[in-house]
């Protein structure tokens, strides 16, 4: 079997695994107690959860998905979700994530260029300090700092601001990675040979160096996608965006167990789709990937 298919198959297995693991974890939770615990779930809500999860039914783990595809509401009426609403919320989050990805690539390019310039000057210390500051800053902190302009004064679009705050750390991470890969490739013999044969620096960069840097960039897209999607949870909460991240956080806070099962599986599927797109892109741009063993 072609190695790429094997790798894609391994990723696909994650989706049913996550679906089953999250289902059985939620199904096993003791959601009510006999004493008067503060966070006790009422018998009516518990009955609704049991119905949503299909507990005690054959193939009960399919019940939340059946309800979604039939257009029924999962969870209690006020905080639950239908299939259409879930899609709408997901498309909102994916839209913000895609815009953030474009911004992250811009920051990556800028940071890689600045790093190359700083290396020769007094600002070399920023090369390490900036990634540390970006890594040490959870998404909710820049979101909180921007929030008065967005929420109170309405000066900025919430979606745009969310994309901006979640793109900073992935952008600097990608920039560091691309900068390092670029530096390694530029020091290789084939670059010197190409230059000594009279090729213009721009041609060497675009035709020879960048195709060798691209696989390193593709390797980082998976972690960056995870970081963007996880970051969107905090940004959506601060800016009040009613998308997938907000849905997930509220479902966990309100113990909407069926919604948690479905949302976790959808999230894992999204990551698998990103992984498959990366795998296909790798096949298109890197001949070594087509020949590699799985």
């Amino acid at each position: 079997m072609p190695p790429a298919l094997v790798r894609i198959g391994r990723q696909l297995v994650l989706v049913p695994l996550v679906a089953l693991a999250s289902y059985y974890l939620m199904a096993a939770l003791p959601l009510t107690t006999e004493d008067d615990s503060k966070r006790q779930v009422s018998p009516e809500v518990l009955a609704s959860y049991r119905k949503d999860l299909g507990l005690g039914q054959p193939l009960g783990f399919l019940r939340p998905w059946e309800k979604l595809f039939a257009g029924e509401r999962l969870g209690t009426s006020a905080q639950g979700v239908t299939g259409d609403e879930l899609l709408l919320k997901l498309s909102g989050s994916v839209g913000v994530g895609l815009f953030a990805l474009a911004l992250a690539l811009t920051w990556a390019l800028l940071f890689a260029l600045l790093r190359a310039r700083w290396r020769r000057g007094r600002l070399a210390v920023l090369e390490d300090a900036l990634p540390a500051v970006a890594f040490g800053t959870p998404v909710f902190i820049p979101a909180l700092l921007l929030a008065p302009s967005v929420v109170e004064r309405g000066h900025l679009l919430p979606e745009l601001s969310a994309a901006f705050v979640i793109s900073v750390w992935p952008g600097i991470f990608l920039g560091t990675l691309v900068g390092d890969a670029l530096e390694t490739e530029l020091a290789r013999d084939y670059v010197r040979t190409a230059r000594s044969k009279g090729l213009a620096p721009r041609t060497v960069l675009w035709r020879h160096v960048l195709p060798n840097v691209l696989p390193a960039l593709l390797d980082a897209v998976g972690p960056v996608a995870t970081s963007l999607l996880a970051g969107s949870f905090a940004a959506e909460r601060v800016f009040g965006l009613p998308y997938f991240g907000q849905l997930y956080v509220l479902a966990v806070l309100q113990k909407q167990v069926a919604v948690v099962v479905v949302a976790t599986t959808v999230f894992a599927s999204l990551l698998v789709i990103v992984g498959m797109v990366v795998e296909l892109a790798r096949l298109a741009v890197d001949p070594r990937a087509r020949e590699a063993r799985p």
Binding site: R10, L14, L17, V18, S22, L25, M26, L29, P30, L31, T32, T33, D35, S37, R39, Q40, D128, A129, A132, V133, F135, G136, T137, P138, V139, F140, I141, L144, L145, A147, P148, V151, E152, G222, T226, S227, L229, A230, F233, A234, R237, V238, Y248, V249, V252, L253, K255, V260, T264, F267, A268, L271, G275
Partner: protein
């Protein structure tokens, strides 16, 4: 043969970590009144009886304690899995590593949220095994964070096992446990410290984010919970006075852990 020199960056990072730990312990636990009297940032907008400094340094102390405990537990779990995988070897090791990669691919924040929901439901039902919010958070973070260290330790062990001194020891009749105890563990020790320090910021940031959402019930409050419980007020009352000190402390903590981890990790690989 002299021991490899500890890089200056590692000392700077460790100094920063120890300094922050001491400062937060003294400020939040030993002399809270002195801190309250001298705080230049004034009172907290949502808790008028506490100053911003008290809450920020108190939160730092809790975040650091959670990070240290979760980082240590993740490192020990990862080391156990890696050693187990190398000892068993073959198909079991391959499948174990695939499982490790699958866990590693899942986003920390999301999994910790689900584990917190599960853990809190168990605690509410009196089946929490005596775990409080602190123990629950440390366990959740360790259950997510062991995969990275397991991968790194397994790869490091495989590299070490391929070296000549190990082959020589094997040829002289050394058994697996003797190799592990006498040759591999001393070579692995600095790397274990580096991996532990690299888990520290990841655990602190994940805890902060989950606490910010209000999902974890950390008492006393961590930095994330402190910001999470007052974020609505911060949005409308110009909360940079509250956000900036907490951010600064988080950045310094992560900077310290990253610097020492990178420097010790690079040193361990060269040795």
């Amino acid at each position: 043969m002299s021991a490899p020199r500890v890089p200056v960056r590692a000392w700077v990072g460790l100094g920063l970590l120890v300094g922050l730990g001491l400062a937060s312990f003294l400020a939040a636990r030993v002399f809270p009144e002195a801190l309250a009297r001298t705080c230049p940032l004034g009172m907290d907008p949502t808790r008028p009886d506490r100053t911003v400094c008290e809450l920020a340094f108190g939160g730092l102390w809790v975040s650091l304690a959670v990070g240290l405990a979760a980082g240590a537990l993740s490192t020990v779990l990862g080391l156990g899995v890696a050693v187990g995988a190398r000892v068993v070897g073959g198909v079991v090791e391959r499948w174990l590593l695939r499982g490790v990669d699958a866990v590693f691919a899942l986003p920390d924040v999301l999994v910790v949220m689900v584990l917190q929901l599960a853990g809190q439901s168990l605690v509410d039902a009196g089946q929490g095994g005596g775990l409080g919010p602190f123990g629950l958070m440390v366990t959740s973070l360790a259950m997510v964070g062991w995969a990275g260290p397991a991968r790194m330790f397994r790869n490091r062990l495989a590299t070490l096992e391929g070296q000549e001194f190990i082959a020589a020891s094997r040829a002289l009749g050394a058994g697996r446990w003797h190799l592990l105890r006498v040759h591999l563990w001393p070579a692995l020790r600095p790397f274990v410290l580096a991996v532990f320090l690299s888990r520290l910021p990841a655990a602190i940031l994940t805890e902060s984010t989950v606490s910010f959402f209000g999902i974890a019930r950390m008492e006393p409050m961590s930095l994330g919970r402190y910001l999470g419980t007052s974020y609505a007020a911060l949005i409308y009352e110009g909360g940079s006075r509250v956000v900036l000190p907490a951010w600064g402390l988080l950045v310094l903590l992560v900077l310290g852990a990253s610097l020492s981890s990178q420097a010790l990790g690079a040193g361990a690989r060269r040795a």
